[in-house]
Amino acid sequence: MAEIIVVTSGKGGVGKTTSSAAIGTGLALKGFKTVLIDFDVGLRNLDLIMGCERRVVYDFVNVINKEATLNQALIRDKRTENLYILPASQTRDKDALSIDGVEAVLNELAESFDYIVCDSPAGIEKGAQLALYFADTAIVVTNPEVSSVRDSDRILGVLQSKSRKAEQGETVKEHLLLTRYNPGRVEAGEMLGVEDVKEILAIPLLGVIPESEAVLKASNQGVPVIMDADSDAGQAYDDAIARFLGEDREHRFLNAERKGFLSRVFGRKS
């Protein structure tokens, strides 16, 4: 039976798609048969981040409407074995996804996949609710910034009341993924720290992804950033996947780059 993971945040632009791509790729690299589903109907972007935008023929909505079979719509990743992508439709019809349609597709995928990673659209409206409705596990992507933290808390409220698990009296497993983290600014008191966000949202921390040039570079090239094993962000995602799978790894990239001796001595006083 497949585990359904939703990557969600409430707020837009915090790194949901970047994280979905990295998480899906990371799980596949560990040998799990994984499918990435783009739930952002109308604005399809996961295919671009995964570098398969020119191979999209059929999409999620085509499968729901039975205009194509699942096998026709699934794109097999060329770099990573065991990884498939189900792209979003670019239709302007906001009601293109139905709860029954989504359930049927997820059930069919669950027969042959280990992990189903759902990349949620921003907001807390229908699209985002559909993306999280069937989830067993939620990865809440948050930036250390007030509006993102607030929206994450709101999406946690939706997970706890409007998901299928909640309706059945169970709970969706929640993980915090803190992205675009800048340790230097945290130390200077200009950015919420990881402990602050953890304290406010009160959910377990899966990982901290540092603000990194590697992320833009990776998206420029259509390669998930986790493939860039030399980069800080790539390593941080790799750690997060290991933790997700139960490994105990220490959090890295929480401290600013080494400074000179003098500034370290004086810097500590603040």
């Binding site: 602050d196 406010i200 810097g267 603040s270």
Partner: protein, 82 residues
Amino acid sequence: MGILSYFRSKKQTSASVAKERLQVLVAYERSQRTQPDYLPQMQQEILAVIAKYVDVSTNDIQINLDEDCSILELNVTLPEKS
């Protein structure tokens, strides 16, 4: 950083302001989330009844319902006798 931040540190940092604002806001929004839908209207109606007899305003009434709906707590601040 360094010496400069030593002097600056007496003032509250913007991050700690952010944290305080979030803590207040998130606590409030969570309490709103868990209350049943009928609570605001019930509050209005109870207030209307009280207002028939005493001079109170919306801000003077507070209703809390604990999570499993077993205790209804009603606080009404009555005006001081003048």
